[in-house]
Amino acid sequence: MPLSKTQLLKILLFQEIRNILLSPALWGLLIALSLLVGYSFIQAVTLFSQASQTALSYPELAAGMNPLDGIFVPTFGAYYLIETLLLPFIILRLIGHDKQNGTLKILLQLPLSTFALNGVKLAAMALVWLLLLIPAVSVVINWKILGGSIYYPEILTLLLGHALYSLTIVCIAMFATAIAKTLPTAAMLCLGVTLGCWVLDFATGNGQGWLEILNNWSLTTLLRQFESGLLSSPTIAAFLILALLFFTGASVWLHPGKQLQLKIQSSLLVVAVLLLAAVGCSQLGGYVDMTANRQHSFPPADVRALQQMQKPLIITIHLTPEDGRYYDLDHEVLAKLKRVVPDLRLIFADTASGGLFAASGSDTYGLIEYEYAGQKEQSYSNSPEEILPLLHKLAGQKVTRDKLQSYSGHPLVADASGSKVWFYLLLPLLFLLAAGLLQQPRFLRNHESEK
């Protein structure tokens, strides 16, 4: 009796999982990750401890000592490297080998779509990602043992960012494998896109117009939102749209029996639909500040007042986007305003500045003008403490701030050298042991008992 599609998918999934677990590449990646994460963690703890020593002497500096920025983001930098440079090779191998050794020709004859076949690979890659979490969990435990403070919402946000980043990278690798004739070409295509995002991030950091749009959709920029502890629905949607775009592209182009014209038409349709979705998601609101120090939010009373500003708030900026003052203004004020003010319009005045190090010819350079309901205010400040009262004054609102306990920081002087044994020796040995055990016949039997 023929199997149902669900039964077929289960058998295929188990086979793909076995295929991955038997691959030396996976265990090599895990060992490399363990070493890199360990090194990053120990370095981060050392630097954090040095900064904490000063902060313990000067309590006003302690507020700047938060484990997310000081420990977890630098440590997860190792994940960024592995996800960008090594993770794609697991999926390249998984699909590329099927293509090269002809297995794909057999699989394509099953009553399953290419979407289902790729979906199975993606599900198997989810297991890889769970294995990748082992060093991350070790970091959290080690930090806890050292006496460090952990605010789980920001750690989970960081992990979610890396999960979405990995998903997108895997889908890009899938697409590259589907369209390329050989594995080296697929690898070059995939790294071209992922490293391209990296370069884009450097090259267009403060770009305007289409460069800004491109940069906003770069994977590195999207991941940075999560690294900063900001959970935003547009960013999640952007990651999912990119992943879906490449996954659908991979599924359309995987089948060698489809006419080229049909593949191109389907791809264009997918791109059009996802472009519309992208436009839609750029209009999405929905931000949650997951940080312990609420670094992405104004005080709640200010937020409530700003949300009441129903008329357009026009801010004219007499600064070039490359100016460090603009960076501070954007980071401290504008980015937060964008998330709460219903109608915010930013205008860059013609500053006639000759560049980053050139003197401006304009007397008004550095000025920020605020206009609301026909009234105007201006300031040279980029601090929310000065700007927020101006805005409330424009809106005719009196704001009384709630008494909140301010974030006092979590400085910690610790010695993480004990973690070396775990990250450099025990964890790699455990991975080696697991790799060796899985080669034994009694492990990884086929998922159903024999008939």
């Binding site: 394509l108 029996g257 039997r445």
Partner: protein, 239 residues
């Protein structure tokens, strides 16, 4: 052996395939009947593999139609009826042969008894613990044949099934194919004429992407006007 008078199981009409400006298959027409072994015979580059891949939807057809029991179907709809086993496939090369065999047994929902029988007949048991990539050419071929024979579809397309076997092994495989067919139809792509003559009921002679002739050995001899010799003489006279 089936007679062409029987109701045809499968028919291909005017199958054409071109890669860019290069015409690879031109107006290929043939039928296959229940239980018969039809050999697609031709020299290397005749278009045998391309024809098989076009019929199973693994390559897009340029033009042509296919029928299953008089019902027109597209190559994307052939999966329930036709299984094609390409030549030189090395499925899941890093896994043990036994694991791969069990995987395909599950995938094709084949009975354990059938699998054991095939393992014995193909003498694959000693290779079960070896990884697929470390198998010899002969064992790899036997593993592929086992996968093909486990498949449930009524029409089985095998690409160069005897390539890599010596004469004695080929004869054993031929006997096995005959015995295990049990009503299935076989389409074999073969370039060795001696083997083809021994196993096939009918022959589709392909040359340069065209059908040179089709029929039983006797019919081919009649068309070629050769009374003596075998398939080789008929083939040379017709091509």
């Amino acid at each position: 052996m089936a007679a062409p008078e029987e109701k045809e199981l499968f028919r291909a009409d005017n199958i054409c395939k071109h890669f860019g400006h290069q015409q690879v298959l031109t107006d290929i027409c043939f039928s296959a009947y229940p239980g018969e072994i039809l050999g697609i015979i031709g020299p290397n580059g005749a278009g045998k593999t391309t024809l098989m891949e076009c019929l199973t939807g693994l390559l897009p057809l340029s033009s042509g139609t296919i029928y299953w029991k008089d019902q027109q179907i597209t190559p994307q709809q052939v999966n329930p009826f036709i299984f094609y086993l390409p030549d030189g496939v090395l499925p899941y090369a890093e896994q043990k042969a036994g694991q791969v065999v069990t995987f395909f047994q599950q995938l094709f929902s084949a009975e354990n008894q059938q699998l054991q029988q095939l393992l014995e007949r193909l003498e694959l048991e000693p290779a079960q613990e070896k990884r697929v990539h470390s198998l010899s050419k002969g064992y790899r071929k036997r593993l592929l044949l086992l996968i093909g024979l486990l498949s449930p579809q009524p029409l089985l397309l095998l690409d160069e099934p005897f390539d890599g076997f010596d004469l004695r092994q080929s004869l054993k495989i031929m006997q096995l194919l005959r015995e295990t067919l049990s009503g299935r139809t076989l389409l074999l792509s073969i370039h060795q004429l001696t083997e083809a003559e021994k196993i096939c009921d009918r022959f589709l002679l392909l040359n340069g992407g065209n059908v040179a002739a089709i029929g039983s050995l006797k019919q081919l001899q009649e068309q070629a006007k050769v009374s003596a010799g075998g398939l080789e003489e008929a083939f040379l006279a017709l091509v």
